[in-house]
Structure formats: structure tokens, C-alpha cells
Symmetry: D3
Subunit: 224 residues, 6 copies
């Protein structure tokens, strides 16, 4: 099944994608009904990055980064590379040269269920990566994989063109067809949170704001 | 046994607590005879924070953060929230809204043997957290737990009102009744370390300062 | 076999060592044919450090840091302490007092397949450490180990006097006798990468620069 | 998206399924081009079981096994229950009562990316389970999930009606539509292996049987 | 605080303890309101053992098994040794010689949050152990710990004289004072399960036996 | 450095090797001064095997088992295959066909810091394996490694011809040149243990047999 590059991929609208980036992973994840999170093992190489983009997926053999070169040619501005190895691997698939090339094509970051390296350089370049490992062990260019096919990455199914949101809390995938709806729900949720934040900062209690006391009492909570 | 909120909890004196914060986890842990450390899996969400405070304990069901709302009402200035789930869990129990509410009540931080989220916001707010995971997966409000009961958190027994010390080296609990004594021993230890630091910085060797050479020789250490 | 301190150890030339530090772990590792990497579990306590030095090896019992005191006396300017426990251990073997002493002797850093503590102080002092854990649990001084014997540290064999290179990507060991040759190969590799970086930044593709298209086509890669 | 039970699911033919069970996971996995393996964390609760069946999938909330009761009503003879929690969880979702009920409906086993309990009873009943944990911590019945929707279980995408093969080597999923083809390829592979086994048992070398010597020589293998 | 042997410990009645053994960990854990489970990392060295006994607790330094010798003198028939190291450790604290000695005193097994060795011999002797590791690395006899003090073992608080129940599902602790009450609740639960088991084996559905259909319908479960 | 097959390897005498197998890993490990243990992650695929043999080492690329075919030609009766991958890997390098071939050459087992598969067949054939994973994911035959070179396997340095001892407690390596001496010390140790076992089975205490009481008293152990 390996050895295929799908060139035509529908993407969500950039305005929707950029709005999802503003809300961040925790809000988007809640807004779409608690689905789409990648495994907690996916961690950013440096703090404070928050991005969203269209998934350009890569299915790669363990320890072989050849398909990343192939994928870079398919990049459009606003894309995020998403690499899933076909077998567990912590090798460093990606470093500063590939990042230079990807950035030249408008790529916003990398999500990889494997390792990266040159992280000092990547940090200085401002190229954000979410990975399960940082490891200097390099890779070969010997075996074919595929580009823009559905992949299971860090336990989540990702289709090419799905929207990826990533920040310090992790990585979340939003189905392309639902992106506008999820942005709408995230917007409502964020507005609601903002008004709550003000009341909480004034010392009002969540117990009262959320009307929790009757239910807690009904369930038998005792104050002693 | 769940469903209890203990409202009256004795705390240690704030001056003692603040002094313990100065010494930090490694010194306090040594000073109380190498006891009280939480498991090494408890890591800070951002570096350089160092706090101490009175434990306000929460026993919470897995994936359910309802009791945090209940606990916030019980907070006094100088407290630290300590949450132990009743079953292993990496969900994100706590985010920026709860932190806003806790800070409004004088809370100094959170120690949680589970996950947190919104860590970019928490970092900007300067609300320190020690957790075993960062994960955007949220929680429900469906089941009762308890507040201010003894908990086992990251392999350590913590009673309400015990003193928590936390920094980059991890988290340590000091029994409330022993807090003043441990502060005293930490003070002596710190003073002793300061004088050693100067001699070591001058190039004097630990082998000589600590008088180790005769014992090493007696045990048969050979220089070749 | 424990209880031996080897005092005479050959080191590589400092000019060679310093040049290896410039290239960093990923480049050096590739340049010597993808050998010498320590396990990915070895992580820096703070980002952006990049050092190289001569390995001063320590074989230590679990939870016993006595031999570090012995090792510090053997330090020469440009050395890196390399500690391998004889059994898995996450205790904090090393803190700011030992770092003060080691720095006074010209030590450049520590590589330890166990834990460290006082990492806030170590960070402020600028003493870099690569470890598998940060943990405040201290150690005793009760049992002999050895200094400057071959050790297996984080899955790599390290001989006293071998060159250690460490940065954000991990830790790599270069055999002392091969250091000049590896520096030469790293230099060539770095020069080559620099010219590639410019072409990639201009948007040229790796597919073309590396002449990959014919081979991919021969292997059957299909664009659809 | 939760709260759906799909009742009409196409299954592969039982004769094909049973043949796949004979070949086992390693052979089936190779025969379908090295795809479909679940993560190595999925381990059998007792050794020597080898089964195949149609996937009846369950998407369940963490720590909530309500949907298993719903799923059991949908079981047909020859099915295997496949449960993926919507968040990482090691609770014991399944015990001997549920197994009694499932066996009464012709269920062949359970594949669960979470925990099970009562494993002594399950072993005596001969009900095979592949899970990532064994843990007595039970679950609640409070939240809806779904039955017979696509799930990502232990890093593999499984659609309802896909064929599951499981033995001591792990768990493999075969797409329903490809089951007959994969059985055919497995049959050829197994026959080929049988003839090789005889030659190898007679002491003939793989180097000669597989004609490896010229290629090894060409690649530069040196015998010293 | 180390260096104490408490000689007088109250135990629960043997008839109660033996009854708890019959029900096993999953039932006892539910019967006492889902509390008392040790971490899932505690695994039996051989399958099918099921025991209950009074906890004789040992707080031991990492890699030092001296206190086990001290503890064995305190054993009474029906006791279970429970060892918690004061720092994480996988060394093999316990082997066939210690088991011989413990069995001669009527000990029923060992629960240890560390490693054991000689497991082939222990299996042949029928001495059951629940541990987090099997490892041949031995220990020393150099430092004091304590016997019959409260310990935190695998994330659970265990007091001397508490009842330990252990089987293939893990290990559970029952507070001594609650043992008779928990046995009573376990008895009711087991009787109830037995009647359910018969109905389930006849093909009746949990959906009907537990009256789940109305609630599922109310929550919006859709059959499609 | 890859691509070398060393054909001439000195082995220890078979009578010495066979005697080491009798004593087992825990005794041999103690007898040689607590050195030589492989990491605790190395576990047997079935219980109760106990073997010793000469190490025939294999350095293999991740996910590539070609060198095992090359190694099998070098096997002599009494050898044990020892495979260390050059990068972390859990793929199933070895199955029943390779075992058939290895057994035909007199091989006694396999020690592999990676995965194996076909474990049901390997168990039925009685071919013992110690591995860090069981996983059906197969490997390719594309890249050269080396045979009979020094390897670091599961954190231990193993030279070709060293003696490997393996049982339920793990795996231990004995340097070839020390094999006879270690067998002698193991013999003494085993005899000593046998006499102790009798006294302990009669209820005598280790406290008395080993004369521990005065030292415990001197260290301040208090009985309360």
C-alpha cells in the first residue's frame, strides 16, 4: 500500500484555521465534544508555540525520512506536516535543513509520532515541533512510504486536509468538514469563559457560578 | 467514604512555611531525614518556581474535577491544592479558569498526581503546578470525592494542613507538627552548606573537607 | 572489581574537543558513521547548552555518590564527569555543592544515567547536566565504586578519556583515538550542510538537490 | 458524536475468518503487507490462545463500561469485542460476569486498549482477552459511548466487521473486504514456510536457501 | 525515623481474613467502595495464587534487605510481608532462602514495591509474591529501616495489621477495623453475582437484568 | 563499522558453562561480585527455562534481521545468540523458522534487546528467548550489521565468547576468562546456601544464623 503521493487535497478555509489557533487545544477539544486529541506523549520542543494548519500526512517506514522530502514538494502555505511511522520509532527524522526547506514553502510546523533532532536550531528558527522524542539518531533514505493518505498518529486518525491545532497542552485534530462548526462552538465557549474568568477573579465561586450546590447536596456531600 | 468536606484544618505558621520555601526541596528533604518526597514523576509545568504552603487535599474520582470547585471555597491564603485521583489518570483536571479562582483566594499553587491543561496561560499567570502529565483532555463534574481528608499522592501520604514544599527538584511534604523543627534543621543545613560552598569554590576538595580519605583507604580504595 | 581509581588517563587535544562542540551531537554522530549515541532518555536540565570534553568516568553503586568526591580530585580542565550507576536508580546524586567543587576544577558538565537535584541552582550557575531524572531524593556515602574505568552509560560503552559531546539533541561519545578524524569529517559535513541550507531557504527542493527523483520513480512511487 | 448503536454490520465469511486464525498474527501481518498490527502493549491474559473473529467495536468513555452491556446485545456467533476508550485508561472494564454473558452469545474474545479484571476466572472459563493492563479497579455506568462505529484501538484503525486475529504475538486487524485475499496470501506463505522449516531443520542455512550470499558480498560483508 | 521495630500489632480475625481470600481482589475492592487498590504495576510472579493475610510492614532503604531478616522474627501464622522501599528500586530484595525462613514461620506471601529473584524456586515452593519487577540484582545489609510502621506501598497507605488480599487482578488493602464489615459486603456481592451469572449464562442480557434500557433511552442512545 | 563477521571466537569450556547453568543467574551474579546483569527489561517468553552458553553476538540495524541469518552459519553447539539493535526497536526479529535453523546448529537460546514473534511456536519447540518485547511486527533484510563484535545489550557489554546465563530472574554475562573462577565461587555459594536453607526451614532465624543482632543493636535499632 506504500508508494503513493496524493497531490490533490481539500483544505479548510485559512480564516477558520487561524481562528482555531486562537482558541487553542483545550478549548477546541471541548468544543468538538472531547474528541480528536493525540496521545499525551506528543510534546512541544519549546514552550509557548500555538499553531493551526492543514494536515499534510506522511506514512513513513521506521528510521527512514525519505518521504519527508517528497512531502515538502506538496506543501502549501498554512500546512502542517504530520508524520506517523509504520512501526514505533524514536529516531530523529527531522532537523534544521528539512525545517529550512519546509519554512520556505510556508509550512507552519511538524507533528511527528517519533523523534526529531537539531532542536536548538529549530527553536532559534521558530519552527515548532510536537514529537514523542528528541534524539540525535538519524535516519536513512531507502524505503517508500506514502504522502497524503489517512494515518493513525499518536492514537488519532488523521486524514489529509484535516485541521491540526497544537499548543503546550498537546495536539488536536479537527475533521476538515467540521472545522467551521467547531470554530463557531469554540468561539461561544471562549466568550463564555472570558465572562467567567472575570467573575472568578473577583472571588465569586465556581460552586455558585455554575449552580453546583443543589446537585452536590442531592448527591449527599457533607460539610463537617 | 467519598462525599466529605472537612472545613476545620490546622495549618503551620506562615513564617515557618515561608522559611521552608527558601531552603527548597532537596535541603528540606535531607533535613527531615530523607522522608516525604513525592514520586519523581511529579514535574513543574515551568522552571524556577519554588513555593511552600499548607496542603488543602482533594480526593477526586478519575476524570472528574468537581471537587476542585468545592475545595476552592475552603482555600485560605498560603494554601496549596493537592489532588490525588482515586485511580490512575492523566486527564487535564485544571486550567486557567480554576487558577483564576484559586489565585483570587490566595492559593500558591497546585500539586496533582494527574494532568493539567492551559499550561501556556498558567505560565503567563505565574500559577505554578507540579503534575505527572500535561494533557488537554478535560474532565466531567459527575461524581463526589472528598476535600481535606488524608490522601496518598504520588506515593506519599499527605494530611490536610501538612506543609508542601515544591521546586524544580520535585515536591516534598513536611508533617504539620514537625514543620518548625524541620525548618530549624534546614536552617542549620543551609548555613553549613554555605560555608562548604565557599571552600569548594576555592578549589578545596570534598575528600579533605569531609575527612573522607581515611575511611576510603580503610575500605580498600586503590589509586593506580 | 569496585574500589579502583585510575589516575593516568590520556585525553584528546583540547582544540579538537572544542571543535567537536561547535558541530554538535547530530553532526558528530553522523560524521562518525552513526555510532556513539547514548539512549534518548538522557535529557539536559536546561535548554541550549552545547559542550564537549574528556570523559572522566565514574562507576557508582545505586544511591551512593561517594565516588563523585573521589572523581573530582582527578578532574582536569576540559573534563566532563560521566556517571553510570551499577543498578537502575533515579536518586539525585549531584547538586550545587558538587557542581561548585567541579567547576573550581575546570569541569564542563555532567552526564549521568541517574538523577540530579538542585537544578534551579545548577541552571543559575550555568553548569550543564544531562540526566535521566531530576529528583530531590539524596544519596549516601557508604560503598566503594571506581573512577576512570570503562562504563556502560545509557546503553553506550565509554572509556576514560573518550570525548563526550552533548547538546539539546542528546549525548554522543567519540573514541579518543578517533577524535581528530571525526572532527575532520564533521567539518566537511557542516560545510556541506551550510551550502544546502542556502539553496533550501531559496525554495529549491531536496528532491532535486539530492537527485532523488529517478530513484523514487524506479522504486515505483506513484503521484495521484 | 457518542450515543449511537449501529445494528447492521457486514461480516467476513466464517470459513475465511477461521482460516486466518490458523495462520496466526505474524503470518497474517506479513501476508497483508505488514499492516494492521495493534501496538505491542496489547498482551494476552493467558498464553497459547489463538483466535479470529469479526470486530464488534465499542467506543467507551474512560472508566465507564456501560456500552459493553449494550454491545453484548449486538453480538453474533464468531464476533470479537473490540473496546477503545476515548481517553487513556487502565481500569478493569470487563470481568467474569460480562464474559459469561458474551460467551452465551457466541463471542470469541475481547481486545481492549484498557484494563480487565477477574483474570483468574476468565482464564478458567477459557475466554481470551488481549489488553494493555490487568487491574481490579472497576468502572461506572454513567456516560454514553457508541457501538459499531470506527475506532482507533491501540494505534490501529478498526471498522466494525473487520477481522481481528490475535495470539501470543499480539493482535492484527484485516479489513473485511480484503479478508479472503489475505487468507489466500497467508495460505501461500504458510505452505512456503513449511517447506523451508524442513530444510532448515536438516541444517541447511537460510544464507543458501534464500540466496543471500551474493548480495551480502556485494554490500561489502567481510568475514575475518 | 528509621530504626524502629513495633512488636505488638493487632490483627483481624483469621476467619474473616480467610473469607476475604475467597472473594478475591475485584469483589473486595468493590465491596469497600472502590478503595484500597495498590498500583497496577504490582504483578504476581506466577498465575492463579489467591491469598489474604495480615500486613507485616517493612520500610526498607533502596537496595538493602536487612530489615526483612528483622521482620521475619515478628511473623505470625497468617501474615503477609509488605515491603515499601524509601526510594524507587527494582533490585531483587527477596529470594528462596528468605522464603524458606518466612514459610517456616507461617507467612503466606510477599507484596513488594520493588524486585524479587529466584522466582523459579519461589514458584516451585508455592510462595506467592506480588512485585513490580523480577530482577537478579541483589541487595546489601548496611542500613536500618523499620518494621511494622505505616508505609505507602505502590501508592496505597498500609498500616501494620491491615488485611491484604492478593490475586491475579492485583493487590488490595482492607483496614483492619473494617475487615468484618467488608467481608460481609463482599459476601452479599458474591451471592448477588452468582445469581446474575446463572441468568447471563442462559443468555439473558445485562441490559434487562440491570434495568438499563430506560436510562439509556433517556440519555439519548440511538439505535440505527 | 558495520559489515564484519568475526569467525574465530574463543569459548569457555562446556563443562564450566553447564555448571554455571545449574546455579542460575542470581547465584552467578552474586558469585562474580554483582556484575554482569542485563537490564530488568529482559524477560523470558516462557517460565522455568534456565540455560547457559557462549555468546555469539549480533549488532543489527533497527528492524532488520539479515545478520541473524549470517550469524546462524557461525553457530557452534552450546552457543546462545545475543542480538543488540543499533537503535531502540521492538520489532519481532526472530520467529519459529530462524529457531528451527538455530536449533539444527545446536543453539541453546536467544537473548535480544528487541522483540520476537511466533512465541507460541517457540514455546512448543522449547527454544528459550529473553527479550524486551513480544511483537508480531516483522523486519526487513536490507542493511548490513556485524557478527561477533563487542555489543552493548540491555545495558551490559558483551564480548563474543563470553558466557551467558539466563533464567526467570533475568540474564547475566560472565567474562570468558573468568568463567572457571566464577563457577568455583558459585559452587561454594550454592553449598553454603543449601546448609542455610535447612536451618531456616527448621525455623532458625537469619538474625541468629548470620549473627546480625549485635550490629543492629549497635546501629540503634529499637524494639518497641
Amino acid at each position: 500500500m506504500a508508494g503513493v503521493v496524493v497531490q490533490r487535497v481539500e483544505r479548510a478555509e485559512l480564516s477558520v484555521i487561524d481562528e482555531l489557533a486562537e482558541y487553542g487545544v483545550a478549548t477546541v477539544h471541548e468544543a468538538q465534544g472531547r474528541t480528536g486529541l493525540l496521545a499525551a506523549s506528543m510534546r512541544p520542543i519549546y514552550p509557548r508555540a500555538r499553531i493551526a494548519g492543514s494536515a499534510l500526512t506522511i506514512s513513513a517506514p521506521p528510521g527512514d525520512n525519505w518521504m519527508i522530502h517528497v512531502a515538502i514538494e506538496q506543501l502549501q502555505a498554512g500546512d502542517i506536516l504530520v508524520l506517523a511511522p509504520t512501526s514505533p520509532c524514536t529516531d530523529g527524522y527531522f532537523g534544521d535543513l528539512l525545517a529550512t526547506s519546509a519554512m520556505a514553502r510556508g509550512c507552519r510546523g511538524l507533528v511527528i509520532d517519533a523523534g526529531v533532532r537539531d532542536v536548538r536550531d529549530l527553536t532559534e528558527m521558530g519552527f515548532p515541533v510536537w514529537s514523542k522524542a528528541v534524539f540525535a539518531q538519524g535516519t536513512v533514505k531507502a524505503t517508500l512510504g506514502s504522502v497524503n493518505v489517512p494515518v493513525v498518529c499518536a492514537n488519532a486518525l488523521i486524514n489529509p486536509g484535516d485541521v491540526i491545532v497544537a499548543d503546550d497542552d498537546g495536539v488536536c485534530v479537527v475533521e476538515r468538514a467540521r472545522a467551521a462548526e467547531v470554530a463557531q462552538k469554540s468561539r461561544e465557549r471562549a466568550a463564555n469563559e472570558e465572562s467567567k474568568r472575570k467573575r472568578l477573579a473577583d472571588g465569586e465561586l465556581g460552586l455558585d457560578i455554575y449552580g453546583m450546590r443543589p446537585k452536590l447536596e442531592a448527591m449527599g456531600l457533607k460539610y463537617v
